[in-house]
């Protein structure tokens, strides 16, 4: 089991005490600034939609990614355009953050436009799925985003399938799946990772361990300290990342990505975080039935925006004054205003929102279309 390492530290993984190079060593100051902006954007997307929902402008349930943005941003940042991703309900920003480095406005990048994502949120015909299924249940064959469903962990086998097809076609891509720790108890989670390990398929499984599966805490979900240790059972590496720290997420995920891309197969990256709100906005006001207030206060203490700003200040990339200019961190959705965010972020999303509001609803007869493909 030469590849089996469950490590919390890259130095330990390589069996040496000497300083080791980390994937993040290759990040430039511009990369850090871009990562900060992306964190702002993911946060703004979340709080803006919470506000829109409270105004009664949206239907369906909103699954907040508040406090978990570093996982999405840090995981996606190092991917190649042709890589596949498979986001779930709490990962709505992933749909536009994929291949974001190619340019936020670049129509050819391998991620969805903000107009497409907002169209889906508003249930409009301009959504990539023409608003046939709700909220995060979109995807794109062309942009290589596996369409999510409500069956959590249910898209990991699809990730094995798309990478297998790419391998047969001579493409060296990887697939990155996002999962809550709750879905790790599903049989298909085990089945799919087991098969990926057997076949050495380049599937990186991100576990967003936010401590709560709807109303169930982790000690009722599994009997491990670090969930990533389960990787040992599959003969694959498991990594643990600080889910509040976008750089640590980037480092651990990129180790997994490099492992996959070099043909060594799948791995699991557990990102420890905390779910800021209820499971969905429908239980925000009932989450205190199952979650003690102290736990929520503690869990929200390390806002990913704050953690990255501190890093950047210590590295001399950001001044305290610059850091304080847009103080969105440590604030709830009801407390922040647009002034707490960089204007670029507000403008980018506002454009998408306005597009979606004006976009038409799909024709009602579409409800009965596309059950079968006609020859």
């Amino acid at each position: 089991m030469a590849t089996t390492t469950t490590d919390t530290d890259p130095a330990q993984a390589q069996g040496t005490d000497s300083p080791v190079s980390r994937p993040s060593d290759r990040l430039t100051h511009d990369d850090y600034r871009e990562l900060l902006l992306q964190l702002y954007l993911a946060r703004y997307f979340d709080v803006r939609l919470i506000k829109e929902k409270k105004r009664g402008r949206l239907r369906g349930t909103l699954y907040s990614s508040h406090n978990q943005e570093a996982i999405l941003v840090g995981s996606l940042y190092g991917l190649e355009p042709m890589d596949w991703i498979s986001p779930i309900h709490r990962d709505m920003p992933a749909f536009f953050l994929k291949d974001f480095k190619a340019g936020w406005e670049n129509p050819d990048r391998m991620g969805m436009s903000i107009e497409e994502v907002c169209s889906q949120v508003w249930g409009k015909a301009t959504s990539p799925g023409r608003a046939r299924d709700n909220w995060s249940h979109i995807g794109s064959k062309a942009k290589r985003i596996i369409h999510s469903t409500s069956m959590l962990a249910g898209t990991i086998p699809a990730a094995t399938g798309v990478t297998l097809a790419d391998r047969l076609n001579g493409l060296n891509t990887i697939a990155m799946t996002f999962n809550g720790e709750g879905s790790t108890a599903q049989g298909v989670f085990h089945e799919a990772i087991n098969f990926a390990a057997v076949e050495k398929l380049p599937v990186v499984t991100i576990i967003e361990n936010n401590q709560w599966a709807y109303g169930t805490p982790t000690h009722y979900e599994y009997a491990l300290e670090d969930f990533a240790r389960r990787a040992d059972g599959y003969g694959i590496p498991g990594f643990v990342a600080d889910g509040q720290d976008v750089i640590d997420v980037y480092d651990k995920v990129m180790m997994a990505v490099e492992h996959a891309r070099s043909g060594k197969g799948p791995s699991i990256v557990e990102c420890k975080t905390f779910r800021a709100y209820g499971h969905g906005d429908h239980d925000d006001d009932r989450a205190d039935r199952y979650r003690p207030e102290e736990e929520v206060v503690e869990g929200r203490k390390r806002d990913p925006l704050h953690v990255l700003k501190e890093r950047m200040i210590s590295m001399g990339i950001l001044t305290q004054e610059e850091a304080d200019k847009h103080p969105a961190e440590n604030k709830g959705a009801g407390e922040v205003t647009d002034a707490d965010f960089p204007p670029k972020v507000v403008e980018y999303l506002t454009k998408g929102v306005q597009f979606a509001i004006k976009a038409p609803l799909p024709d009602e007869t579409e409800g009965a279309m596309w059950v079968f493909k006609e020859d």
Partner: protein
């Protein structure tokens, strides 16, 4: 003339399926096979025998015992441009992959507004009458008929086994393919098959026997019970028409309606359990669409609402039989 050229060797149902899959593998370089023990062993019944020798592990996958992941991986392969044949070792085991079939695969075309299609055939040995007991005897097609987005077929002849399999493997939609394992090697139904490529289109019924006294609709192994019952009826002076629907979804309603115009009596025979079984669906549709042609209440003969028991007397007790079909038909004819 090439169009009518036939071989000379009689072939069985299993060989027909095997040839269909092998020919489609040769025809479609993007086709992949997945299943348990389908490689060196050639599958539990030998349907995939020889494929791995011809195509290797790049196109023929022995999979772990993980039906959900077999179907889900096939789903990902289809999403990325491949065609996949999935073998369920027994169709009973399909329940272990149920979610991946009904929620992932069946809905994919719908939820992507037509952007993604799933050219996947999930096939496996099915059906009772062989002492297979509870978990090697099922006909569970009704689960899938109730899940929009899936086509379902079940051939009863050697010719149809090959033609429907080839059509299914060329269809852009997911198809659940029920192979009747009791027919795999049945000598009496062996046929000489055309040498040239042919398909049997999905959604077209076959009139297995012409008659004017009653229409008996069935599929799978029960078609042969119905044909035997028709011989009994003939000896009593009645000509029964027997229709083998071949495709459960889509259903060829026209052929049944046309027959009812002539016979005015409908009996549906199905070895699946009665409640919410597909026999009930055929009765409902004909009651809605052909009521004015009926001179007797439509009737179904199905398995009792029980699992399939193991030992022979118990098994036969709960299943449709030639005797039960003959008696039911006579009751309708004399109504």
């Amino acid at each position: 003339m090439a169009a009518t050229a036939v071989g000379t060797e009689k072939k069985n149902y299993l060989t027909a399926l095997k040839e269909a899959i092998a020919e489609e593998m040769a025809r479609n370089p993007h086709m992949i096979c997945m299943g348990e023990d389908i490689g060196a062993l050639g599958g539990a019944f030998g349907v995939t025998d020889g494929l791995i020798a011809e195509y290797g592990r790049e196109r023929v996958y022995d999979m772990p015992i993980s039906e959900a992941t077999i179907v889900g991986t096939a789903c990902g392969l289809c999403l990325n441009g491949k065609t996949v044949m999935v073998e369920m070792q027994f169709i009973d085991f399909i329940s272990c992959g149920f979610d991946q079939i009904v929620n992932m695969t069946a809905t994919y075309h719908y939820r992507t507004a037509g952007d993604v299609s799933m050219p996947m055939v999930i096939r496996g040995p099915a059906g009772a009458y062989g002492g297979g007991a509870l978990y090697h005897s099922q006909m569970n097609e009704a689960w899938f008929a109730n899940s929009p987005g899936l086509k379902i077929v079940c051939p009863s002849t050697v010719y149809d086994a090959k033609g429907l399999m080839k059509a299914a493997l060329r269809d852009p939609n997911p198809v659940i393919f029920y192979e009747i394992k009791d027919l795999y090697r049945r000598r009496e139904i062996e046929e000489v098959l055309p040498e040239e490529d042919y398909i049997v289109p999905l959604g077209k019924a076959r009139v297995a026997r012409e008659g004017d006294a009653i229409t008996i609709v069935s599929y799978g192994q029960n078609v042969y019970h119905c044909l035997k019952a028709a011989e009994n009826l003939e000896s009593e002076g009645y000509q029964a028409e027997v229709i083998d629907i071949r495709s459960i979804v889509p259903l060829d309603e026209e052929t049944i309606i046309e027959s009812l115009k002539k016979t005015n009596r409908l009996l549906v025979v199905n070895e699946a359990p009665m409640t919410c079984g597909f026999a009930g669906e055929i009765l409902s549709r004909m009651t809605e669409k052909a009521f004015e042609y009926l001179d007797a209440p439509p009737m179904r003969i199905t398995r009792m609402d029980t699992p399939v028991p193991w030992v022979k007397p118990l098994e036969l007790y709960v299943l449709p039989s030639v005797e039960k079909i003959t008696a039911g038909a006579l009751k309708l004819i004399k109504y």
